[in-house]
Amino acid sequence: MTTLVTDTATVFTRELRPVLRNPFSVIFSMIQPLFFLALFAPLLPSVVGGESALQWFVPGIVVMVCLFGTSTTGANLLFEIQTGSHERMLVTPLRRPTLIIGRALKEIVPMFAQAALIVAATIPFGFDLHLAGAVLGLLLLSVFCVGLGSLSYTLGLASKNQEWLFWAVQQTLLFPLLLLAGMLLPLDGGPGWLQTLAKFNPLTYVVDAERALFNGEVFSSTVVPGIVSAVAVAAIGLLVGVRAMRRSS
């Protein structure tokens, strides 16, 4: 007999399989963030926010990789809606919420692999790895990923017969969120209005918390707001995602 857990596992495994069969796809969504790492990081002053530029920049890039990969994931569902495999799954006894939860949970796996690749690639250039902090940072990012993935799938469901809508919304939101989170440059020196806008960006708190955690500052005051923000994004994402999936036909 199936349960909520076995259904989630079925969806999760199904989603993960193509990734495992073709690991190169994990690298594909990393191309842009890797360019930022290689061609933008060297432009930063040698000390940013009181720490070495690389130490400051790498956690932001890890979040960026999660952002790029996970925000586009709804396109896969959109494609399955168009081909008919989503409909096929809707006729099975799989519980509707698991069709979102299983998918969103899968986003964690490529995120971990990508983060590991980035860290491994930057260590030779002087990035100082604090393993315990980094692992905690990735756990926090996992929570955020689940929420973001869920939102992306919701967008996929909402775009149903209009593929352009998905990409229009995803592209329109991606860069403002990314820039306003101080991912590429610190916002401390920016104008007041920009700093105010950044305060309304949930991603800001996640990025700040990641910087602290990757530096081994597990008890930093920025960690708690990061956790709150990530949990809120996950809760809202799953809520709207489950609602959209229940209405899917």
């Binding site: 199936t2 409909e87 096929r88």
Partner: protein, 344 residues
């Protein structure tokens, strides 16, 4: 001892029972009545074709019966359970092969079969062995471990069928199963459906707008038009009731034809007899039985017939008689809907 077990009361042989099943859609603020008060009963083990032009409400009916969309009003029991209040029970018992491809394009066929089996609560081993069994019987061995997007249309369709059968459902729905297949793959598909019916006694409901397909495969044809049921019987009885055989006689001379028309009156009673120049057309039931008698009578009367043709009625004649429109793909009335389909 009445009422010991109330659930026994609802146990009948009916696999599907609908009452006043209705579905409306709102398109640009206008209400479209896709299905209008459908009363239907399908018994266990039947092979039923829902036949009708595009937009007749076939797919909408199927989508309601498979729990994909709720009815606007009316009720439907499928495999003993209500489609709105007991969705999971219905889903557990039915198989569905939609118009699209069930297998994800970035997946491998075998993987999809196994995860589909898992969705029905099969153990990993059971799902794996069942997948292997279906891969074998649907001749997918060479392609099952390839990415689905690299498969041909026919191979993908066979994979869809395999997926629909993974849990050996007692009731299988197929929505336009042969659309887009070449004649050989179509024949193949029909063979699979027949085998399923013969070997496993599966109840099968399929929609089609191919007349020959409905005629060839279904034991019962339900004709729908504008969301309503307009005829429901075996193909043979539909044709007998709603369209007669047509006997066409050709003569060299017009007065032979005229005499033949008069003589025919004595052989076929109550038939439509029409004579135009050297041609006599007789619409009658049981045309093949009438022709020998007719030939003897004309021979006795000394009228020389140059050629005889007996045309059996088709389901299109039935549809034409019932609605005044043709259902054929090349018929003028259906071209617009085909254009729509191509544009979609």
């Amino acid at each position: 001892m009445a009422g010991i077990n109330s659930s026994v009361a609802v146990m009948t042989n009916a696999m599907i029972r609908t009452q006043g099943l209705t579905r409306h859609f709102t398109v640009k603020k206008e209400t479209v009545e896709a299905v209008r008060g459908l009363d239907l009963e399908v018994q266990k083990g039947e092979l039923v074709a829902l036949l009708g032009p595009n937009g007749a409400g076939k797919s909408t009916t199927l989508r309601m019966l498979t729990t994909l969309i709720p009815p606007t009003s009316g009720t439907a029991q499928v495999a003993g359970y209500d489609v709105t209040t007991s969705q999971r029970q219905v889903r557990n018992r039915i198989g569905y092969i939609g118009q699209g491809n069930g297998a994800g394009h970035s997946q491998r066929g075998r993987d999809e079969l196994i995860s589909h089996g898992r969705a029905y609560g099969m153990s990993r081993d059971k799902a794996r062995s069942r997948a292997a069994e279906l891969i074998e019987s649907l001749d997918l061995g060479a392609v099952a471990d390839r990415v689905v997007s690299s498969l041909s249309g026919g191979q993908r369709r066979r994979l869809d069928i395999a997926m629909g059968l993974i849990h050996a459902p007692e009731l299988l729905f197929l929505d336009e199963p042969s659309t887009g297949l070449d004649p050989q793959n179509r024949a193949n598909l029909l063979e699979h459906i027949r085998r399923l019916r013969a070997e496993h006694d599966t109840t099968i409901v399929l929609t089609t707008h191919y007349l020959d397909e409905a005629d060839a495969i279904a034991e019962r044809v339900i004709i729908v038009d504008h969301g309503k049921l307009i005829a429901d019987d075996t193909p043979a009885r539909l044709k007998a009731d709603h369209a007669g055989d047509r006997i066409v006689l050709q003569f060299d001379r017009e007065d032979d034809a005229r005499r033949a028309a008069t003589e025919s009156l004595g052989v076929v009673t109550g038939a439509d007899i029409e004579q135009v120049a050297g041609t006599v057309t007789i619409s009658a039931d049981g045309g093949t039985h009438v022709v020998p008698k007719l030939m003897r009578r004309l021979d006795e009367a000394g009228v020389t017939v140059t050629s005889v043709e007996v045309a059996r009625p088709t389901l299109d004649d039935v549809f034409l008689n019932l609605t005044g429109r043709s259902l054929r793909e090349d018929g003028a009335t259906t071209t617009s809907s085909i254009d729509q389909e191509l544009a979609a």
